[in-house]
């Protein structure tokens, strides 16, 4: 009797054949979005700042999966992003910058036309092997005023978190309380004459509840912060994983400011406070609208 040939794939094969077509479709969707960005690329596929869609396309799969299936992001008012140079100013939270990744993914996958959001990174990022290259190919630069100006003048969409680490590493009890805003972004907006779109990100503030921030230990090792959270360091690397909170990203209407870029701090501060107020309002509305943190 001939042996019966098992035509059923194993569970691994089954998983693969179930996933692959949808991953292929997802890749095709990402490629389509990337092909529509307004950024000019040279004959080798790079823009003036080393951004490279060919390198980004595969890296984006995990971001889009996290966007759709882990954080299940909802966006509101994305049509508020104008074409041309623009600053996205958002609240920063959650110990690790998933908020930046989700905001970037949101604008690439849902805005019309798709834009690659340019993040302004920390000064030490270019010293890290691999990370520096990945960041640059993904469209991110060191946050020097020169770089930001160059990007805005090139008509790019630049994302800035004016709270910086003050916001990102704040404690759970301080969630949704905006920390002190830096003033630099406003000077750049005035100098480049670009609009500011305030962004309220609801969800990131609960993703990694911070219990304490050991600043003195962090200083000892030259780190920006050493947060102790619900999961870290107790669960090791696993503790770095954020909780599966649901993200809601609210884009406010573009704000235009007039004045001198090199005006006194007090004058700039007033304008910054207006942006801060808008973000606070977006966060308040966003929290009222949601039914729960995870749903």
């Amino acid at each position: 009797m001939p042996a019966a040939r098992d035509s059923r794939p194993g569970w691994l094969g089954g998983l693969r054949s179930a996933l692959l077509p949808s991953l292929d479709a997802l890749q095709a969707e990402i490629d389509d979005r990337l092909s529509k960005i307004p950024t000019r690329l040279n004959q080798y596929g790079f823009d003036r700042f080393g951004m490279c869609p060919e390198t980004m396309r595969t890296q984006l799969i995990s971001s889009v999966l996290a966007y759709r299936h882990y954080f299940r992001v909802e966006s509101f008012g994305i049509e508020n992003i104008p074409t041309g140079g623009v600053l996205l100013i958002a609240n920063h939270a959650g110990q690790l910058p998933f908020d930046g990744a989700m905001l970037g993914t949101c604008v690439l996958m849902e805005a019309d036309p798709p834009r690659v959001v340019r993040a302004m990174g920390e000064y030490w990022i270019p010293q890290l092997p691999f990370v520096s290259v990945a960041a640059e190919r993904g469209g991110n630069q060191v946050g020097t005023p020169e770089n930001c100006t160059a990007l805005l003048e090139a008509g790019e969409c630049v994302m800035v978190f004016p709270e910086g680490v003050r916001g990102m590493n704040k404690l759970y009890r301080d969630r949704y309380q905006l920390q002190r805003f830096g003033l630099g972004f406003m000077r750049l907006a005035l100098a480049c004459d670009v609009p500011i779109v305030p962004v309220g990100i609801v969800g990131s503030e609960e993703q990694q509840p911070g219990i304490a921030n050991l600043k003195s230990v962090a200083n000892l090792f030259g780190m920006p912060a050493l947060p102790i959270t619900l999961g870290f360091p107790w669960l090791g690397p696993l503790g770095l994983l954020p909780l599966p909170v649901r993200y809601r990203i609210h884009f406010g209407e573009p704000l235009r400011f007039e004045g001198e870029a090199d005006d006194e701090d007090a004058v700039i501060q007033e304008k910054v406070d207006r942006v801060r107020g808008e973000i606070e309002a977006l966060l308040r509305r966003g929290r009222e609208l949601r039914k729960g943190i995870f749903t």
Binding site: N42, Y44, F46, R48, Y123, Q127, V133, E136, T144, E146
Partner: protein
């Protein structure tokens, strides 16, 4: 016809510039080494710019313009001599220019003087500080030359002096550090780093110098080419293969090989393979109408192994 004196005339860039200038200028030059088969109407004097004989050349030739590009840019010889030739040689030349009625002076510096640092912004302009000596002390003489020449602009405002800082120069004729690197069988790269690099063709550099002379420009200018690519793309497009080595392995090993004379670059040069040094050429383009004629493809094709 105006007479131009070129230092380093026998080098690749000197020869190219001579050919570019011959239709509009009378050309003469000095160098350490003779130029075999130089054009008949070009006087080539084999002298050391630090010596009295060089002063004699200026006195007898009486050029109205000088292009200074006779520098030692490699590290093969004695470091003290290199420093002396580059810095004291430039000082002597500047004095002669002031004393013998030279009206125009072009000094060919380079974009390396800004230095390669992680905090470098993209597309630095000419006002950016020259910090190369901080991480790459072996080229501090070239930074000093640039500074001497820039100061000369203010000391002698009636002499139209220009300092040009071109980005990485490639071509069939010039012997640039980056050209030598890209011609290696295996190009060592710093693992995990891939900085953007700008390139310009040697003919376009010659054109930039010629325009500077013809238009009597004054000031300090970056000279850029058609664009920029990551280092890995430049290696691929010139037909090379990268040898990716972690920094902590490459530096000690190659520094030792450099001391033994088996490797041409000191370890400070590696920072240029890690961090970007990209320049804004806007000022020069606006002042002269310069447009690079050679595209990136042609530039990469000019590198033969």
């Amino acid at each position: 016809m105006e007479k131009v004196l070129i230092t380093g005339i026998s080098g690749g860039q000197g020869r190219l510039l001579t050919r570019r200038l011959l239709s509009n200028f009378e050309v003469c030059g000095v160098d350490w080494v003779p130029w075999e088969g130089h054009p008949r109407d070009v006087n080539v004097h084999v002298v050391d710019v630090r010596k009295k004989k060089f002063e004699d050349v200026i006195r007898t030739e009486m050029p109205s313009a000088v292009v200074h590009m006779g520098f030692i840019r490699h590290f093969r010889g004695d470091a003290k001599r290199r420093h002396d030739v580059n810095v004291r040689g430039t000082k002597q030349l500047l004095d002669h220019c002031a004393n013998y009625g030279v009206q125009r002076l072009v000094v060919l510096s380079s974009g390396y003087v800004y230095g390669a640092f992680p905090e470098n912004p993209f597309y630095m302009d000419e006002d950016h500080p020259l910090s190369a000596s901080r991480s790459y002390p072996e080229i501090r003489d070239l930074v000093e030359v640039d500074t001497l020449a820039s100061a000369f602009i203010w000391k002698y405002p009636h002499i139209r002096t220009t300092v040009l800082r071109p980005v990485n120069v490639l071509g069939e004729t010039v012997h640039s550090m980056i050209g030598q690197y890209l011609r290696l069988d295996r190009c060592p790269t710093m693992m995990g780093f891939d900085p953007l690099m700008q390139f310009v063709h040697e003919e376009d550099v010659a054109d930039a110098i010629a325009r500077t002379l013809e238009q009597g420009l004054q000031g300090v200018f970056n000279v850029t080419g058609p664009g920029q690519v990551p280092l890995s793309v430049a290696i691929r497009e010139t037909g090379g293969r990268a040898l990716s080595v972690p920094d902590f392995v490459a530096r000690p090993v190659l520094e030792r090989l450099f001391q033994l004379g088996l490797w041409p670059y000191p370890s400070g040069a590696f920072d240029y393979l890690k961090f970007p040094v990209t320049l804004s050429g806007k000022r020069f383009i606006e002042a002269t109408g310069y447009r690079p004629l050679f595209g990136l493809e042609e530039i990469f094709q000019s590198i033969h192994r």
